[in-house]
Each structure stands twice: as C-alpha cells, then as structure tokens.
Symmetry: C2
Subunit: 451 residues, 2 copies
Amino acid sequence: MTGLPTQPGHLRPAPENFLSAEQIGEVKAGRRDFLRSSLLAATAALVAPLTARAAAGSGDPDILKLPEWSTSSGRPVVERPYGSPSKYESQLVRRDLPGVLSKVPGNSVSFTPLQGLFGIITPSGLHYERHHQGWQDIDPARHRLMITASNPAFIKQAKVYTMDDLLRLPSVSRIHFLECGGNGASEWGAATFPTVQYTHGMLSCSEFTGVPLRLLLEDCGVDYKKARYVLAEGADGATLTRTIAMEMIESGEVLVAYGQNGEMLRPENGYPLRLIVPGAQGVSWVKWLRRIEVGDQPFASREETLSYVDLLPDGMHRQYTTINECKSVITSPSGGQTLLSQGFFNVTGLAWSGRGKIKQVDVSFDGGRNWKPARLDSAVLSKALTRFNIDWVWDGRPAILQSRAIDETGYVQPSYKQLRAVRGSQSTYHNNAIQSWEVLASGEVNNVQVL
Amino acid sequence: MTGLPTQPGHLRPAPENFLSAEQIGEVKAGRRDFLRSSLLAATAALVAPLTARAAAGSGDPDILKLPEWSTSSGRPVVERPYGSPSKYESQLVRRDLPGVLSKVPGNSVSFTPLQGLFGIITPSGLHYERHHQGWQDIDPARHRLMITASNPAFIKQAKVYTMDDLLRLPSVSRIHFLECGGNGASEWGAATFPTVQYTHGMLSCSEFTGVPLRLLLEDCGVDYKKARYVLAEGADGATLTRTIAMEMIESGEVLVAYGQNGEMLRPENGYPLRLIVPGAQGVSWVKWLRRIEVGDQPFASREETLSYVDLLPDGMHRQYTTINECKSVITSPSGGQTLLSQGFFNVTGLAWSGRGKIKQVDVSFDGGRNWKPARLDSAVLSKALTRFNIDWVWDGRPAILQSRAIDETGYVQPSYKQLRAVRGSQSTYHNNAIQSWEVLASGEVNNVQVL
C-alpha cells in the first residue's frame, strides 16, 4: 500500500458545534429562511474543545514504560449496569443551533454527529431529533393504538391495542435509514453550514422491530379495494399526522415498531410506539403513534400542505413527495476538519436510497472531473445506510471531494446544477444534491458548492 | 390469523435479577464449579420490581380522555445531548451474580438481558462484560499498538501505530456476534440458572469498524510462509493473551477495531482498540489491544492452557477449540417469565454460528418430538446473530419449548444427549446444546433439561 503515514497526526476533527458569529450573521441576514422558522439573535457559538482523538499521535511516549491501566486493577463488572461512552468521547454528541432554526426548542432539530461515526448503525443516543412539540416519555402501560376508519365500509371492526397486545404479535426486525425531508435545507441556495453534522445530520440508521401494519389492518378486516390510504397520528401535543399510501403497507414494509437497535425505542424517537415507513422522509415515521385512520384518499393534513411540500421554480409546489431519493455524503474528511499531514487518507462516507439498495458510489477528488468507484464496506441493505470507503493520497494541493451514489433502480444522485434545473434554489425539502468539500493547501476543509 | 389476543395481559417478564436463595444454595453446594471460580456466601438476590411493560394491558383506561403527554408541551431537543432509555425501562440492565461466580468483581461476568431485547443488534450499553482484571478507560492519545515478531525472519519491520495512524487507514464495518466460550457453563451438569439472561447472556452482537489486521501485518512486511500464528495482547492489568491462527487473519475477517455500533468502542468493550475475530469465542477478541506478536506456532498462553480448554469424559482435554459452533435459544417466552393468558404468542429467539450464516431454525413445542421451521425475520449475516420468530397458540397445557439451529455448513445444533456422548457433563466451555423451557399449566416458565 502506498502512502502510509509517515508522520504523526493526520486530521483535526471539526469543532462539532462550530458555527461562527459571521456565519450566524449570514443566516440571519436572510440568505436562507432555514426550515421556514424564525431567526433570533444568537450569541456566537463556542468553539468546542478539540476531542481527545485530535490529540492522538501528537505525543511520543516511552512505550517501554507501562501506563497506569496496565499496572492497576480495573473497575468491576456492572459498575455501570447500563453503559455509556468513554469520558474521552464527551464531545461527540447531538447538537442543535439554538436561535437559528427555531424560537421554540420543542419545535426544533438536533443533528447527528456524522463526522465522528462509523459503519451504518447510529447509536440510539446520537439519533437526530426533530420534534414538533417536544418529546415525551410516555407510560407504556397507558399507551394505546386505535385503528379506525373514515368510513365504516373500509374495515369490519375498529380496534384498540395495548402495548401488551402488540408485543405478543408476529414481529420482524429490519435495518433502515431515517432522514428528515428537511435534511440539507440550509444548502439549497448556497453552501451555508460549515460541518456535515449540520448539512446532513438529520440522518440516522437503526434496526427497528415491530409488527407489520398490514397485519393489524387485516386483523380489523380491512377492505383493500376501498381503503387506499391511512392517516397516522402521534400522541404528542402537536398531534402530528401524515398520510401513508396503502401500497406501502401492503408490501409488508411499514411497521408499528417498539424496538430500536435491540431495545425499546428511546423517548425522543417515539417510545413506546413509532410508525416505520422505509424509504420515506422522517415526518412520515410518526412518533408516539396512537391512531391509524383508514381512508380512501390522501388526508391533506397540516404537515403535507402547509409544510413538507416542494416549492418549484414557477412558484407551484409538489405535494406528497414522500420518498427520499438516492443520496450520499463524505463524512470524513469533511467541513471544519483539517488535514494535518500529506499522504494516505481513508476517505469515508454514507450512501442511501429510499428506493432500495445502493449499487455503487463514485468519489471525485477534483470537483467532479474524474470519478473512482468506492468500496461498499458494510452490509448493503435495502433502504439502509451503506458505508463507503476509498483510498486517497493527499499531495498537499487544493482538492474538491465529492461522492455520487447510484441505487439499484439506476437513479444517479444529481449535481446542484441538475437539481436546480428541475427544482430551483428556493426549496426547503428533499435536497439530495452532490455535496462538495474543498480541501485548501492549508489542510482546512470547507463546505462549498460546485454547480 | 388464528388465536389473536382475547384478553389483556399475556406475559409477565422474568424478574431480571432473579436467583432465589435456594438456587444460590444449590450452586454453592457444588452442583457446578461455575467458570472455575470460587463461591461465596451471598445474600438472596432481590426480586426486581416488574418492568413497566408487565403492567401494560392490565388497565382499562378511558381512551377518550387525553393523557398529559397529548396536552402538554414536550421537552426540548438536546435536553440529553447523548440520549438514554425511557425511565420505564430501568430494569432492563446488565446483571452479574455477586458472590456466585467470583470473589473478585473485576474478574467476573455481567450478562446481557436477552429476554427483553429485539432484533440482532445489542445496544452497546447492554453488551455483556467478561473482564480478567476489570475494565479501564484508556486515554486514546496515549494508546499504542505494537507489531513485533518472535523471530526477525517473520516480519521485515516492527511498527508502532498510534490511534491516529489507525484511523487514517482503510476500514471495514461488519456485524458479528460475540459469545464467551463459557456461555452456558452453568448448564453442563443440569439446568441451573433460571433465566436466559444467566444461561445465555454472555452473548451480544454489534457492528464493528476497524482495519483488517492483514493490512497491518503486510505493512510490517509479514512472511506468510513462515508466520502462521499471532499472539494478541491486551493492555489491561491481566495482560490477557490469545493465539490467533494466520488463516483467519489472511481471510481479511480479523479486524483491529475502534468502532462499535457506529461510535467508538465502549470502555468495557476494549476502548480504544479491540481485536475482532469473527466466529471465535470472546476471549480471543482481545480488549484494550496493545500488541501483536507474529510467530510460527501456537503460543500456549495462560488463557489457552489453564483455562478455555474443554474437559472430555476420559479426563483429557481439548485445546484451541476457538470457534463457537452453531447454537440457538428462545429468548421469549423464557425462564422466569409467566404466560398470563392462553392464545396467540410470538415465540422469538436468536441463532448464530461461528462457521457462517444460519440456514434454518426449527422450533418444538413438545420437547423435541415435532419441529416446525421458524421465520428468520432479520438480516441474515455471516457470523452474526439471526433473529427467529414463530407463531404459537398456547392451549393452557404444559409444553416444552426448544429451538434447534442449522448453519450453512449443514451442522445441526446438538441435544444434551448428543453433546454429552462426546463431551461428558463436567466441561465448562462451548456448551451449544439445545435449550429447553418448560411451560407449566400455571403459565410459569422454567429452565429444564431434556436429554
């Protein structure tokens, strides 16, 4: 292998909560009406202490001297009956943009720190959050799921299920990505946010376990010929509702889930019950699910009329664009990080498609002139994140890094030029354009847009 | 679907830390010299409060009355920058057997609560622990991995890698199970421990990310013709060492891993560096990995001579039986749980093989006379846990539940009768016999052995 490390220190991580006063100013000046939320005066975000990982490689210890962890008795089992990360990883957390995205921290977003993660599974503690009226920790003994119908002809019998009822029914476990339709909203007009945590961090991937919704509808005696849509409703204060097309449910993919990454859902992720709609944008994955109403047409709810619609260049909008199309992003090196030395780098990132499996990911180091196929070095599963890696030897000259994913339908992730030709630059949702990271001769990595 | 729930309440979970004074007494009386550790007087384990899940379904709330979580503003994003489970799940934790397994809590075991988990991914906070001298939280900036050789002819150059060096190298991400060779040790002689947490809970499954060890050895200029084994050494106080055969490394499967379930390894799982040896028993997955020594023969270290050997009926022992053979267990209903009503149950469990993928799991409800194939309702990956589910309608009569896994090599999990014919009943490690759970007419589920 050429270009193996010749000097210590290769990458300084992005200060994870970095958003400079200048950048907040630009956002406030109206460059983006991000997520259609009001902007507030905000204090400059603090530049976080560098993580412990940044310090790795900087020393030159006497390796013959045993460290204290080799010469001491360690700590007992179950000192932590439910474990937590190392104290050296305390900077790798979810972060929001207080005052920038929303006046109301209960109607806001926190972002997954993609720049510091590996593989395809997102630890549940770092799953992004998007709440419409805050999160709740619901008592599962009191929670119910009701199945009703807009018209008595659509089902034979309305039913109410306890959590206990649901836990005794046949279940399946599937690994799927979950992406907010607004992921990348800040980037429609121009490169805005400096790090991948903020440009792409409304994205996570988990193993979900639950009962196929199809099974519950059939238990209620659904008439598939008449009933072509359902409305899913959450038990939170926002009473969030979304329409789900019956074809998705009939496929068996839509789950009424209680499990996430092996344990019960986390409260921020809908404990004790969440709708899983593989491939669909996050808002359809209704949290704290309490009701399914069976109908014969889309319900035109608030979250599919006033928001989660795609503004087009001619001023019209597209509605019910539920599926997240094929997309990818390089997570390291990425914006805010700094390359500390020339030589070999493992360039890594994530690819996903709401239409199925990822077939290929190409990477460019010269802003899209030349492309090389990356290795898909993880499980490659349908409607799940796929991890890609590619070798790169940095020669110290400026470079522009991009990734471009292709899914099993043959769909190719578009450039900003291609996306804007269809969608304009004033939209909010469903930005799946190719992301560009500019590497300067200094090693600094910046978010840029290449048309 | 027949037999859907007709009355509320179906399953009372096992009191997760249940081990009665009587049962502890039996263990102390020498029925098992469990894990070859000394036994201590122990206070009776407390019967844990039932989990909230047990209470689900017992009430009959007025569903037209909105609960407080539907009528209040919720809690803000990033209230918990690193999230944690619902307060209602506080009983689902790792548990040890204080005084039963070991005098020294740093040289002991904590068990994964399999009875309450879903799917195939084990949350990192619930990964089982088996330490030989306690766990350490090592400073990654000071940690090093050294590659050396027993003979200068085996490698061209010894090298020392910092964490920073390793993080810039090509990586892969793979989902694999990890099982202690001593999992099920208590059960060789007779059904001993009452719950699946203790009979099978030295078992977890994660997505691991790291550098193939092959790549590092080749970077050091290994001579594969001469160098056929390596010794892996941990940085903990036990300086745990294990021999790994070079064929496993050459396959590319053995990883020097820093990532687990998307984030850095947890301290109890070897942070910042652990050897991943897919299919091999846990002791080979050296935690806090600090040194690899390349050699031409097995190293006959303490953990492969004084322990982790298989005692045979004739008094001889087998050595270097590293691979965990095909095995399965029903996790719910399982020992300590109680069926509260007749009717439909989703019977669920886990299957795994150190030789590759699971091909089939059969389930018996009558102690092995009749078998039915279960559904494999998760990703089915090589050397990973596989989740199985099967429908069962309980008619209220006594029953004996068993699962039997078959892997892609055609190997069939043995009964206790078959296993003992070869291995006797005095062994400690590598018990992969079929587990039996007896359901009484009262609904109580007990650990029993069916020969």
